[in-house]
Amino acid sequence: MHAYRKARAVGAALLAAGTIAAALTACSSSGSSAASSSSSSSSGGGTYTFWDPYPQYNATSDWANLVASCGTKAGVTVKRTPYDTTALTTQALLAAQQGKSPDILLVDNPVVSTLAKAGALTTTAQNGLSTGSIAQNILGAGVINGATFGVPIGANTLALYYNPKVLTAAHVDPATITNWASLTAALAKVKAAGKKGITFSGINTEEGSFQFLPWFWGAGANLTNLDSPQAIAALTLWTTWIKDGYAPNSVIQDTQTTAWQEFQTGDVAFAENGTWQKGLAAQMGAKVIQIPAENGGSAPVPTGGEFFTIPVQGDTSRYATSAKIVGCLSATDNIVKTDNTLNYVAPTQAGQQAQASADSSLSSWVSAVGVAKARTGDNLGTKYPVISQQMWTAAQKAESGAATPSAALAAAQAAASAALSK
């Protein structure tokens, strides 16, 4: 009887533990099975595997056809597997752990430094990729300690969209917006006219940091010093907008997509958003200006966009063919076509010129990308994710009123220093 009871106690405990364990490991177990199924082909003779974060393009899309044709040109078959952007980082790490990385990996630029630190990527010196004509500021995300770990497919960045109808009704001339003071004054006028001022994404994910950086850098702040007076000025700008009703309270939870949806209602004067909304902006008649720096001029904006990387393989003779495929995919003609579909700006001057001559509305985006900076640049590398997490947490605290901007940023700096010194 006693043993029976004990067995039941253990059973109940296992049941409880198992339910939780199953839930916790759900992600990792499904991850590894996906990795192993797609990697089995990487050892097959003429087949090269290629992972990208574009699940929106199916097997019959132009992008998939381009990938296939570049493989044919290099004399091999390319097996393409698209993943969701956030899933791709984990997939790539797991695959590297199992020694089953794809031959070519197209990955979001701030992840390059993480994967490079993990030792999962080859340098351009090892794999023979050419980086010659690529703009230095776009290439920056792939450069760590002097070594380059990939080539960009293109770049996107942030700018300030505005709705001319709302601005006209509020008697605001967009040309007068040259610094923070004039922008805030314009927001006040818009609010007085009964419309909403500005939407942005102040969420507690990487998106929030991405959106905050133009203001952070525009004030002259540096990521290694989160609680500098300049940083406090940038965060105070955001919180004052929310407090004064220039920005809706929902920006605290808005992703870039939901912030854009609010702008699309036609009731909002400005939206800080990315190159990828260009097409939808044209549909609703919205125009675009550069994000102003605190004291005038364009603020440096962060670059978005993916990098072609060639992960470490057991068989190093594969790199040459992989480099050939990437070379084909990033050749000017092909990359211009791809970047037009993705709404990206090409990473080379030749590509940018080709884009701008075909579509003059792109010229403001080309100049925005010209002043853009890589988030992991300035040799931050994998320090950036740690700093960024503290930065978005501080932004959240200040936006929601849980702490003042200076207290929130001081706590963030302390936490980031502690995490980095670990």
Binding site: M1, Y4, R8, A9, A12, A13, L14, L15, A16, A17, G18, T19, I20, A21, A22, A23, L24, T25, A26, C27, S28, S29, T86, T89, T90, L93, A96, Q97, P110, V111, T114, L115, K117, A118, G119, A120, I203, N204, T205, E206, P248, N249, S250, I252, Q253, T382, Y384, P385, V386, S388, Q389, T393, Q396, K397, E399, S400, G401, A402, A411, A415
Partner: protein, 333 residues
């Protein structure tokens, strides 16, 4: 995917529960000691092992091994580099010390406690009240009961997204409704004071059907003649509930509370979709924190995340033992 597994596990354990609850009630009467089983011949013993092997294999592969890996992950100091190269140094309880000292730990633990206990208390109370209400079997009660199951049938992603739209500060229907009564804008999802309340409301709404179904079937298993006898003795509705239904439901209630506890402890989807644990840490529970550590940033910290996950498992196991002890006391009275 996450929503799917949670949903499935709810359904699965509801089924599991029903199988387990049925013998629970009659077992009160049958308390004779078990007869010693005669020793089986050698061949039959092998056969017995053969029959049990699939279950043992399944448990080992899908429960014990992941659990072991999770513990292994939490006692080593994994960085992205050592995750790939596989030579993470042994850190003992270093990761656990790290999470206990983290400024996120106290708020996460408090939020988890508040989230779990308030959720369970209200889910159980409302579920039981509705079960008693439907026990009377009036016209259309079947249809109404089916309607109450809707939150259970909806994918969590759908219900959580809908809640987050309804609770939107500027354009949500809840605030529009409150404004009609002259109550000003409540920042449900974006203020540190309300975000936990907002996810609690959504979670309670989602959990009521589970409690309703289990308590309703528990009520049905109580013989009607007991109620009739009580009525004849002059017991009113209130007394019939507190003196008969409630005590007889105790075994069913205990398992419902335990299962509810385990699900609520690991609730992730609703909170992640609605607030991502924010603003700051105001709605961060241990489950959310664990996810944030391993997948929320560009630089995963798998070891700390695994440590947080193991803390959750330990909490669940402690409550499972409390449940087992409570059942013993119940059975021996």
């Amino acid at each position: 995917m996450k929503a799917m597994t949670a949903e499935q596990s709810r359904v699965r354990s509801a089924a599991r529960h029903r199988d387990g609850a049925a013998p629970a009630a009659p077992s009160r009467g049958r308390r004779q000691p078990r007869a010693r089983r005669p020793r089986l011949p050698r061949g039959a013993q092998w056969a017995a092992w053969g029959f049990i092997a699939p279950v043992v294999g399944y448990l080992g592969l899908f429960y014990a091994y992941p659990l072991y890996r999770n513990i292994d992950l939490s006692v080593r100091s994994y960085t992205v580099t050592s995750f790939v190269s596989g030579n993470a140094p042994f850190a003992g309880f270093g990761n656990y010390a790290g999470i206990f000292e983290s400024p996120t730990f106290a708020p996460a633990l408090l939020n988890t406690a508040a989230f779990v206990f308030v959720s369970i208390a209200l889910q159980f109370a409302i579920g039981l009240a509705l079960a008693v209400f439907f026990h009377r079997n009036f016209r259309l009660s079947g249809l109404l009961r089916a309607l109450f199951l809707v939150p259970w049938l909806l994918p969590l992603l759908v219900s959580a997204s809908t809640w987050s739209w309804m609770l939107n500060s500027d354009s949500g229907i809840v605030n529009a409704f409150l404004q009609a009564f002259g109550i000003g804008q409540v920042d449900w999802l974006t203020s540190p004071t309300w975000s936990l309340v907002a996810v609690l409301i959504a979670n309670i709404w989602i959990g009521i059907p589970f409690n309703l179904v289990i308590m309703y079937s528990g009520l049905q298993s109580i013989p009607v003649d007991i109620f009739e006898a009580a009525s004849i003795d002059g017991a009113g509705g209130w007394q019939r509930f507190w003196r008969i239904a409630f005590p007889l439901l105790r075994p069913v209630s205990a398992i419902t509370l335990l299962l509810g506890f385990v699900y609520t402890l690991k609730v992730f989807d609703i909170i992640w979709i609605m607030t991502k644990g924010g603003p700051a840490t105001s709605s961060t529970t241990l489950a959310i924190w664990s996810y944030q550590l391993s997948f929320g940033s560009l630089l995963p910290d798998f070891s700390s995340a695994a440590a947080v996950g193991n803390v959750l498992i330990v909490i669940a196991v402690i409550f499972a033992f409390i449940y087992v002890r409570a059942r013993h006391r119940l059975e021996s009275t």
